[in-house]
Amino acid sequence: MAVPTELRALADRVAPVALARDRGLPVVEALQPLVPDAVLTRGSVVGVTGGLGATSLALALAVGASRAGSWTVVVGLPELGLAAAAEMGVVLDRLALVALPPHDPATWAPVLAALVGAVDMVVVDGRLRLRVGEIRRLAARARERGSVLVPVVPGPDGARSPRRPTVGEWTTDLTLSATDARWEGLADGHGYLRRRRVTVVAEGRGRAARARRADLWLPTAGGGVAPAAPASAVAAAAVPGGRGERDTDDVLEAAVARTERFLRSVPAGAQVS
């Protein structure tokens, strides 16, 4: 008999025995193949980078812990889309955002130090120019207090060297990089950005040394995250702008296009431009 996943998750939470994997922070099911033991080890530094999709990936990473009752604080990413965070599944009641003063870099490290230990998940802009010593001390503090530090470097690839996984200036225990992002749903004048296929590669040290990869919908049609079939299997269907099989999505797109045509036919008042 299939046990509903929510029920199983609840049973795990109330189980009296704490296994090693329970001492980490949970991650959503779609990301579990990417992290060792399917949890984020407390006290580790998990970097997130990628040419496209790093911000969404960082949000997706926070969802599991956030749903399980942990707090997430985002430091120094003033442009974070909160609607996207809500759709991804981050619990807004347990999310806080800290704006760092751009002209006062001396306060950055103390702020991060105050948050490490106070909240389970500290997402930080990995492009901040922190001193190497400060970064090392923050990582040590996280290890001691059991928080997970998530430096995020959006944009073309945080610097990576083969032997020492890094994101920006941060030496990481695990690095998730989003690659090969492809949007679906938008065509020439109609449709809308519906979902994006992303290949996420995880590399790290120690138990995470073996590189893992997973194909994800990030975001899915509703804004969440879900595993996707490998790209090769659906390559034909995933050609951007291609109108392959006429599935429900195509019907939906057509309906959207019809609505737009209708809207255009409605007379309106003043000129927009």
Partner: protein, 522 residues
Amino acid sequence: MTAVRTLVLWCPHWPVVAAGAAPTEPAVVVRANRVVAATPAARAEGVGAGQRRREAQGRCPAVVVHEHDEARDVRAFAAVAAALERYTPRIELSRAGTAAFPTRGPSRYFGGDTALAAAVWATVDDVMEEWGWAGTAGVGVADGPFPAALAAQAAASGMEVVEPGGSPSFLAPLPVGTLDRPDLADVLVRLGLRTLGAFGALDAADVVARFGADGRTAHRLARGLDERPPATSPPPRHLAVAADLDPPAERVDVAAFVAKGLADELHARLDADGLSCRRVVVTVETEQGEVHERVWRHEGALGPGAVADRVRWQLDGWLNGPTARRPTGGVVRLVISPDEVTAATGRQLGFWGGESAATERARRGLARVQGLLGPDAVTVPEPRGGRGPADQVGRVPAAAVDVGEPRSAPAGAAAPWPGRVPAPAPAVVPAAPAPVEVRDVEGRVVTVDGRGAMSAPPADIVLAGRDVGAVQAWAGPWPAEERWWDPEARRRRARLQLQLTDGRAVLVFVEGGRWWLEAVYD
């Protein structure tokens, strides 16, 4: 098994009294942007507890707003507590504005409950008169603190004595909302049980089966019984924790720091024995031999930090109290002892969220960051509803809300917003839109006319300087005309989703003939 006969003194709107407002002056005390107390003058204008600050100011423009300060409330209440000490040394404080003591001894001495209540009322009224709040306090006497508190509130600027054994009939007609358990009261009202009498008539076993331990406590209260059977044996002596301060503590914060350590130790000792206490007694002794003792309601709910806060308030109140009673030397000894110890049955935390240790830790961490960067540096999301990605979830300063409390979204958040940008939402939303240029194949800027028709399909976009992206796919324009009734805030824009050949996807809009970058789908 009857409850301990108790006298409760209730000073309504205590936070405004402590803030120094006069009853005739419209004033409110706000906490996390919500009104917690208002003067009668403000109430007359329609201001009430729970309103937002702005709403209160809207109803009564002349209102004076004070920030809530629990320490100030308790400090001010010390004068009232000191006046009560004339009747009994053992005064129990749960929160500022409410004091309770068992009446058995004092009643005999002063000639019965009614005489005692009248004397207490007159004494307190003298103190209140100094602040200009004469005739506002209420005094109630009944079996147990719960009915006594309700009697005090019912008395409203007077006194009410419920006969011994008369508590159940006094409570019976009162609404279930007086139990101070909104969730439970909500269910009871929907079950048709509107009064405490109707709720109390239920079988206790049925109540436990349906509402659990907290329901049982509420049920006992509704029947006029004490929350739990009173403990008959004095608490084991070894549970009390004490610290000798050498050199004597001259400053309040030094003593409070020691108190924190003591409270930690007390909790550890109670935990080790599987006990919880109902009250803590804090005793402070100075080098001149002066002793100050205060009983604080605990109910297993006070953490070590909260106990230390109460020690701080107690000392503050003592130092600022009547001159005759002020201490003349430094604090040399601090004792915290538990009172009415019972077996810990565990405090059931809310199954879905609720106050948790994680929230408490996060709150402290965020408060520390606010101290480092200023109160506006920390923001929390607030769902608002809207069409654009930046409108759907707003940011409010953490200082303006109760961090960690589930916040209710405004009514519009869940409403359908015709013309809103469809999910998924963009992950990067700049605080202010950046100017861009959307061009057609011939390099002309694309325009959108009043009917939402575009001059030509977009071919490329100039994001910034040399960053030019070729458009691979696009959709739109999606017109949105918002707040057309408000000339200041009206917005008329048309949005386009663009997918560029390098894989990027952006949301742009045109307003007044100019293109802006609204969001990036990262």
